[in-house]
Amino acid sequence: MELKRLKIVNFRQFYGEQTLNFSNEEGRNITLIHGENGLGKTTILNSLLWCLFGNLTEDFEEPELIISKEARDDGVSHARVELWFSHDRFDYHVIRSIKEPRETTFKVHTITDGNYEELPYPKSLVNSVLPEGMAGYFFFHGEGATSLSKGKTGSRFRNAIRDILGFSLAEQAIDDMRTIKMKWNREASKLLKGAQEFQVAATEKANLEETIEENRQLRDEAKASLEALKDEYTNVEEEIINSGSTSAERIQRDLKSTADHKRRTESQLRLEQEERKNLIQKYSWTIVGRSLANEGLDFIDESQLKGRIPAPYDQSFVDDLVESGECICGEELVPGSEKTERVLRLLETANTAVMKDRLVKARSIGGTMLANAKEFIPLLKNVESKIIALDSTIKSLEEREKDLEVELQRIKDSKIEELRERRNQLRVQVKEADSKFNSFNSNISRAKSSLEQVERVLLRAKGKDDRYDKLSSAVKSVDELIDMLEGRLEEYEDNARSEIASSVDEILKRFSRKSRSVRVGENFNFYMVDEDGRKTPKSKGENLLLNLAFVSALIQFAKLRESASGKFLIRGTTAPFLIDAPFGELDETYRHATCEFLPGNSRQLVLLLSSSHFHGGVDSTIRPHIGKEYLLVSYQKAEQEGKPDDEIEIYGKRYKQSVYGAERSHTVIREI
């Protein structure tokens, strides 16, 4: 997204029509707007937010009064904001207008060769260019920056970043393919009308796939809200630590480390319990078979001792006697005679190769069974004793937690009491959200395992109906396409996460006084960590620096993809960075640092600065990058009567920012 022009008409203090052209020149990408407090810097930012999303910043006073007071006094009952921008090789025009009392219209046009054509879904277009969830970051209100960190948790923020990274086309494609797959599953079940068993299975398959999809969406939502709650819980813990009470800080830190220790121990316990389960699965049959093996081996030993098994003669020995016609005692063996028949009966118990093999196997199985049984007992005892020890550690950690909670409770401070209360509520909510998430996961696992069974039945339906065969094979192909596209998005998102983190790290490394780095979580929630990787509380200035560095890294990342062909992803939004009063919480060093990294990292930078923000090295650092420069001049009906001129010096020339005794009170945007 590249801003081109903004037209403000009768919007708050901007009476009549006021226009701003943004700089797009490479190397001189800054549009600088000077304005003292109350002259309309934040109103310019709000005019953009209002035009694109119909929103205003939280601290914008009397948001219901959009139409300029002077205009209303003149009997004018409407206001509007128009924005021209380009994106992904197209030019757009957005217009939002309001007519008293509250009639609002919102339109987006594409511009081709000077012709304006209205788009049917203006909101979708704007959101795909600049997601509403990210608007607060790209149109950055410095004084309200701390409220941003509260809103950056959960899936809304992650989805907004995915949009910025250009995922929206591919995500829409996945959703559409899923809808089509469901529809085809239903169609397939109807094609098997003649075959009752298969039709039931095909209907079941369609139902199960819908159940999986439904639970998958619910699980993703539950996961996002679980993550958001966990983040909030950590934030409240941090607030207690930073509350200023040394006792509260010590207790909360101790609580945190006890909870971490407990979590680690619980996870070890789960591993040992799993190991016990595996041992039982592997060895339990040997316990059952141990007495059987003992009896069997005893019998074999005893029989061998008595010469019963194996028989003391082989089958070949009997065969040889009969064939030679003479017994070992010298008697003649005539075929069919009583004596020969008696010798032949020996074959019933004669030792054969099969018998020998069976005996060896029986002995080996019995032996293995006994050996395993012998091995199992100490292994099981070992795991059991570990489980007992871990259980006892968990119990003592729980006791420790209880003691610390009592200690924290004893601190009589209303702020800490409130935070403790909030933290306890969040703890319950996290637990509930976790169990919700797990229950959706179990639903999915159950449905998947039922689906496998149903699919086995349906394998036999192949060949019954050509159309069914074709449709079910097409469903499979669609499934593969979905998997493929999801895999790519996941891979790309992971890379984006680490690339953004490393860009922010570079900025922090260069400019932060302390040794800090950033972690970017699954939902793109970002926080600072110290040398040991522990999350660390930030000062207001650090928070501001971190937010600016994050957006800057995001823009830089999107810039990397500007020349991408974008077959599956939209080219990342190289959104403009518009910052209102960015330096309020920053000291001179951080101001200077911010001015150094912002112009290079942004595609287009719009700075709204008061004279107090403009000094301290800011002017000289950004001056070479300024492409357009404006001044907000306040016209007031009142006479000067000793009020200041509010002069500002730009390029060695002095400009008045206040004009008194004017026909009407309003602000004018003047290009320098």
């Binding site: 788009l119 049917p120 277009l125 086309l169 494609a173 596209l485 020349s563 077959k567």
Partner: protein, 70 residues
Amino acid sequence: MNDEIYSVKEELRKFMTDPDSLYEDMGEADRVLSEIVSIERRHIFGSGVASASKRIKDVEDVLRKNFMEE
């Protein structure tokens, strides 16, 4: 060793700047996906586009053409 690191870095940079380019040779599935995504692009960014059901219908036509027709 340096060459290896360089080539890994180049691959990574290529992926970061143009992830799609690495999948260019994946064949049939890629072509179908590309066709579907271009429909989505037309519906999101284009003008005069009808409803969501029309968009899904367009995607379905591509899938039918590719997976069900001889």
